[in-house]
């Protein structure tokens, strides 16, 4: 069998389908993971004892245990208490929960790096705590957190491949199916690898340009 024909006719159609699933995994997980990360960071810094402790334990667990274990719990273990998730849903939820924990640590660090005077000045104007956090603290903290959070998003692009381990046939899974059927592992995973490299490179470039666009004199680092 001719290699070119194998690539275009046999490999590409399922890979493209898998790529579609991968992109959907990423597009659903990234924004919700980021937003959840903000909430956890804010809860950790400004919440009362209970909320703050909860947020601490949350990040402890989700940053301490491998993502794969978390996915297994969601997909293989939850049915034992009557909660059935599709493999796609389990993967998305797992990605959101886990990346939220990592995002929250970058954001928390950024919040804590902002001088206390900013909060004081906001409150002195009559802002409520919530107003001060949302319109003064977060706009500054999130800008500072961009490099860390960008890294986390790039990680997520790569770790989306773990969805295959809970039976969600995304890009890696599609490759695995074809590779084992035709015993063409090196070729297939080289191509799959190149696709991931393109994705991570594009996302890196995109996030860097976002960072530049959001730049304000005197903020950042």
């Amino acid at each position: 069998m001719n290699t070119m024909h194998f690539i275009t006719d046999i490999l590409f159609p399922p890979l493209l389908e898998g790529l579609g699933v991968t992109l959907r995994l990423i597009v659903y997980s990234v924004p919700f993971g980021f937003i959840a990360g903000i909430l956890i960071a804010v809860g950790r810094v400004y919440g009362n004892k209970l909320i703050s402790t909860f947020c601490f334990l949350y990040t402890l667990f989700f940053r301490g245990a491998p993502l794969l274990v978390q996915l297994f719990i969601l997909y293989f273990a939850l049915p034992s208490i009557g909660l059935y998730l599709s493999s796609f849903t389990a993967a998305v939820i797992g990605f959101i929960l886990c990346s939220a924990a990592y995002h929250s640590e970058y954001i928390r660090g950024a919040i804590q790096s902002i001088k206390s005077g900013q909060m004081m000045a906001a409150e002195a104007l009559g802002m409520s705590k919530i107003q001060a956090v949302s319109s003064i603290i977060l706009p500054q903290a999130l800008r500072r957190a961009i490099p860390g959070c960008s890294n986390e998003i790039i990680y997520l692009v790569k770790y989306s491949s773990l969805a295959y381990m809970v039976a969600c046939v995304e890009l890696t899974g599609a490759g695995k199916v074809i590779a084992s059927r035709y015993f063409e592992y090196t070729l297939v995973f080289s191509i799959v690898g190149i696709i991931y490299l393109i994705m991570t490179s594009v996302v890196t470039i995109g996030l860097n340009s976002l960072e530049r666009k959001m730049e304000i004199p005197g903020i950042g680092k």
């Binding site: 004081m120 000045a121 104007l125 009559g126 802002m127 409520s128 319109s135 004199p217 005197g218």
Partner: protein
Amino acid sequence: MNLEKADHDNGVVLRVEDIHKTYGKNEILKGVSFHIKKGETIVIIGASGSGKSTLLRCINQLTIPEKGRIWLEGEEVTHHMKEISHFRQRIGMVFQDFNLFDHLCAVRNVEIGLIKVKKMDKKQAREIAMEELRRVGLERQANQYPAQLSGGQKQRVSIARALAMNPTVMLFDEPTSALDPELIGEVLEVMRDLAMGGMTMVVVTHEMGFARSVANEIIFIEGGKILDQGTPHKLFTNPEHERTRQFICKIDELYGKTEK
């Protein structure tokens, strides 16, 4: 409470009564009381660490004192945290290190309180903000970010930010202490104009030239209490305590030659 009515009748804008504040084991304020009438300027002096900033922060409840009460135009501020926003809107505050919002350009710094707190529409807020910037001589810097402004300009923006809320009284916490000497004058000039325009002001400063020419009263804080108070003339020439005289003599030495 009869004090409320009395304050109203006598034109007392701000009344501070028996404020106590402790951090850990350190009692910083041990019962401070004073009041200020409409259009007056009070200057507070005292050694570093004597609790001047703490006192100002107690006035708008950024710090909650353990004991003591505060009234603004006859209404009690203390023990009313639910309505604290309304009081804070009427108490302008200017900080030693400016605390401009670093992510907002000058005009956005000035208008954000109007938009977020007073819920004013953006167009009107922008007009007021520009007017306040003009008042402090910075309309041309409206679109610059704090990092692009000099210290003196930053402090003038922060004064404009406080003024935009149309406050009843202004608190200044060492507004010129973080400035290079050549930039102090422009800030003091703005403050002097404000005082002349009838603003009620409580100013922590060691600019004795400013105190002499603008203050109606000087308060000297030491050991958590008001040790001496009176007109500039009285404190400079005939203070009750020897300690006050010593401190005033030392100010030039401690804080550098000041503008006379």
